[in-house]
């Protein structure tokens, strides 16, 4: 070994030690300043509400305020891109909605970030179930009835969604594919905008978020048929899952928290621990229950596996549906 190379080894060892040391130091100091939680949607929407419910509790547990930063636009890609380009230090987190990694890669021609390698998973947060509702004039009472009606009169039924690639749209596409039926998708700019045509019966059915549909179901303006999750919802316990009729049917908006890829492992673990603790706080649980969302929780590895699984599922649904624009 020459002197130069011996010096090189020494240098490498020293640098390595410093590196390890700073890594440890980061984890011990973290967080030393406020943390930004990027919500890629406008304030007041579903994801924003959930983020605002958890952020004060997370801030309390971390000892630093968690500040919500709404960066809406382009189907969540603008907000996602902010995190993809941020420093990997755990001070810029992303409230991840399905668009970011699970659906946009197959719907959009070009993303400004890499959906696979730019993010480090932290925690699976919640699932927002959809409910299958029909206008009362539609003579169906169950999923089976609906499938029969769709087969008897192919191409006459319309279903509304809150937009291309939304959970309500893809739930409908999955339903069409699993039942081999034809229905026309009518897209709106958000659930609120779709309500009017749904309530008048211009559009016969929808797979929309449970909490938005609940008052209309209770008032009898819409008839609920089933939920899109494999389990029943505690909010409407009488409603069977679509999966009872169509085994394996599972479609709901999955939300989670991620950081920029390359964030030190101890930081990820700390965030995962505190977020899991937040999900167990009774106040948070009550709020989620009243919103009809189901909290999940788990390890970063659980999340990673789920992202891979769901991404594969939606890739297939989108490709078969032809929803990807030319």
């Amino acid at each position: 070994m020459t002197r130069a190379s011996r010096f090189g080894v020494l240098l490498a060892v020293v640098l390595g030690l410093i590196g390890a040391d700073t890594g440890l130091a980061i984890a011990q100091e973290y967080p030393s300043r406020p943390i930004q939680l990027i919500v890629p949607f406008a304030p007041g929407g579903g994801s924003d509400i959930i983020a605002r419910i958890i952020s004060p509790h997370l801030g309390k547990l971390l000892g630093q305020p968690v500040v919500i930063d709404n960066r809406p636009g382009a189907g969540a890609t603008i907000g996602a891109n902010v995190v993809a380009k941020a420093a990997p230090d755990g001070y810029t987190l992303l409230y991840v909605t399905p668009g970011v990694q699970l659906t946009n890669p197959y719907l959009m021609k070009k993303l400004p970030y890499d959906p696979v390698s730019d993010f480090a998973p932290i925690l699976p947060l919640v699932v927002v179930p959809n409910v299958l509702v029909v206008h009362p004039s539609v003579p169906v009472k169950s999923v089976k009835d609906l499938i029969e009606l769709a087969r008897a009169k192919p191409g006459t039924l319309n279903f509304s969604s809150s937009g291309i690639g939304s959970s309500s749209h893809l739930s409908g596409e999955l339903f069409k594919q699993m039942t081999a039926t034809r229905m026309t998708h009518i897209a709106y700019k958000g659930t609120g905008a779709s309500l009017q045509d749904l309530l008048t019966g211009n559009v016969q059915l929808a797979f929309e978020s449970l909490n938005v549909m609940l008052p209309h179901i209770k008032a009898g303006a819409l008839r609920a048929i089933a939920v899109t999750t494999p389990e029943r919802s505690p909010v409407l316990p009488d409603l069977p899952p679509i999966a009872d009729t169509l085994p394996g049917f599972d479609a709901a908006a999955f939300n989670y928290v991620s950081a920029r890829a390359g964030t030190p492992r101890p930081v990820i673990e700390r965030l995962n621990r505190e977020l899991n603790a937040v999900l167990k706080i009774p106040e948070v649980r009550d709020r989620f229950l009243s919103l009809g969302v189901t909290s999940i929780g788990g390890t970063p590895e659980d999340l990673d596996a789920r992202i891979k699984r769901e991404s594969l599922k939606w890739k297939r649904v989108i490709e078969v549906s032809g929803a990807r624009p030319e």
Binding site: I164, T184, G192
Partner: protein
């Protein structure tokens, strides 16, 4: 009587000291953000939303509603004083309001807006109390075909917004339609004219265009005109309207109130049309038609009344059906959900205190607004006396902050600067920005509704004529087109004769 009993419940709920306080706080904050250009009620309500978690539901909604109509009100102040319409509804207020301000009649314009808004607010509140459920059912008669026809009517009427050349006005409308095409197509998800820029993937923001074309363009023109050192207004005349002014504003206020109340009921964009429709109507029926665009008091009184009436009645579909008319209503529905109230048909029955309390608070809020704003007029008018070289940097800064706050992106600020240049160029060419803005607002909605109507009819265009409401509106549009075109043809002929002589 049922109504009296219900109103009593509402008065009881709204007149508690706590709720009075939140009502006042709401209209005060609303006026403030309305006055700050660009900083709209959506951003404000979103910021204050978490703070309302801890409040009782009635107080929370009273405050949020106050912010909403307070901002509608405040928005007209900047439109009149510095030609900055921060809301779609105040675009037309800027047309004549700003000209009045330039003539030293800013005080009169502001007072007219205040009086008109109050009268309209009072009437619309009564409508809300007396007839909310039956009116909501009318709203449900409107499907995509009806909304498309309504937008056509609005677009035809928008030609009237221009006071100059008809050809240029149509050119500007088309330009607005084209700008409106930018963004992601709702039905197919295809991006159009976005050039891969994610910041415009959802389209160009209204505030960006309006601030640039109106506000920045006007600043450049003012600097050019006066060398940038003199005052905006040479002499301020009377602060309050004279008897002659009052006489001229009565009929427009009445018509604007009725028109705004009717359009506000339609959740698919009705309230937005209210001020435009009222302006077009006033310009056509007024004996002072030639003064429009040059400071006609009717051009402020009508649209301001229509706008406020529409803002109030747009609560009808939200409270009785749970259908939001605009992003602010969607946020309020979000606030109700967080409070554990399910917005929808059951609110009136299950939450009478909330429903009637909110209605009564709206009237109280409108009263607060007048009391709050009439004394402020003197202060605002003095703002016009600030040397322009001190005033315009402040306007620029507020514009930049406001535009940034909509999406939290600096890209919008640059885009606004670009539209500022465009605004200046068009001003030089004597092309007016108001028709363009209307094309920009209505175009995308019209397309969306047309495609949805055709998608639902499986491609049959007759759906627009078979449905009676849609057909009626289209006939009205055709009539309006004839009315709009005829005087122009006459005028052009006269001009041609004049040249011959």
């Amino acid at each position: 009587m049922d109504l009296l009993a219900n109103l009593l419940v509402g008065i009881e709920a709204a007149l508690t000291p706590l709720n009075l306080f939140y009502c006042l706080a709401g209209v005060f904050v609303g006026t403030l953000v309305g006055v700050l250009p660009g900083l709209g009620p959506v951003a404000t309500i979103a910021m204050l939303l978490p703070a309302t978690f801890a409040l009782p539901p009635v107080s929370a909604l009273i405050m949020l509603a106050g912010i909403y109509y307070g901002a509608q009100y405040g928005g007209s102040t900047t439109a009149i004083l510095v030609n900055l319409p921060g809301e779609t509804s105040s675009v037309v207020t800027a047309l004549d309001g700003y000209q009045m301000a330039r003539q030293g009649r800013a005080g009169v314009a502001l007072a007219t807006a205040a009086i008109g808004s109050f009268v309209a607010g009072t009437f619309a509140t009564i409508v809300l109390a007396v007839a909310a459920p039956p009116l909501a059912n009318i709203a449900l008669k409107f499907g995509p075909a009806e909304y498309f026809s309504l937008m056509v009517l609005g677009l035809v009427a928008s030609v009237v917004l221009a006071s100059g050349s008809l050809l240029k006005a149509i050119g500007m409308i088309v330009l607005g339609l084209l700008l409106g095409l930018v963004g992601t197509d709702v039905q197919s998800g295809t991006e159009r004219y976005t050039f891969g820029i994610p910041q415009i993937a959802d389209g160009i923001g209204f505030v960006v265009v309006a601030m640039g074309m109106f506000g920045l363009g006007e600043i450049v023109r003012n600097l050019e005109r006066e060398g940038g050192v003199t005052l905006l207004v040479r002499k301020v005349t009377n602060l309050m309207p004279t008897r002659a002014d009052v006489k001229r504003m009565v009929a427009p206020i009445v018509r604007g109130t009725l028109l705004g109340s009717a359009l506000g009921i339609l959740p698919g964009g009705g309230a937005m049309l209210a001020s435009f429709a009222s302006y077009s109507l006033e310009k056509k029926v007024s004996r002072h038609g030639s003064e429009f665009g040059k400071g006609a008091i009717e051009g402020v009184a009508g649209p301001e009344s229509a706008n406020n009436a529409g803002a109030q009645t747009s609560f009808i579909p939200m409270l009785t059906l749970g259908i939001p008319s605009n992003p602010v209503m969607a946020l309020m529905i979000g606030a109700m959900i967080i409070q554990g109230i399910q917005p929808g048909p059951s609110v009136m029955v299950e939450q009478p205190r909330l429903f009637w309390g909110l209605i009564v608070s709206m009237w109280i809020g409108n009263l607060f607004l007048v009391v709050l704003n009439l004394p402020l007029i003197g202060l605002w008018v003095r703002l016009c006396a600030v040397p322009y070289h001190l005033l315009y940097p402040a306007i620029l800064v507020f514009c930049a902050i406001g535009v940034y706050s909509v999406n939290n992106t600096e890209f919008d600020v640059y885009l606004m600067a670009l539209f500022g240049v465009l605004g200046y160029v068009f001003a030089k060419l004597e092309c007016e920005p108001a028709p363009m803005l209307l094309g920009f607002i209505l175009g995308p909605m019209m397309e969306e509704y047309l495609r949805r109507a055709l998608l639902l009819s499986r491609g049959d265009p007759m759906v627009l004529l078979v449905r009676p409401i849609s057909a009626t509106i289209l006939v009205m549009a055709a009539l309006a087109l004839i009315v709009v075109l005829s005087p122009a043809i006459r005028k052009k002929r006269q001009a041609a004769f004049a040249e011959d002589l």
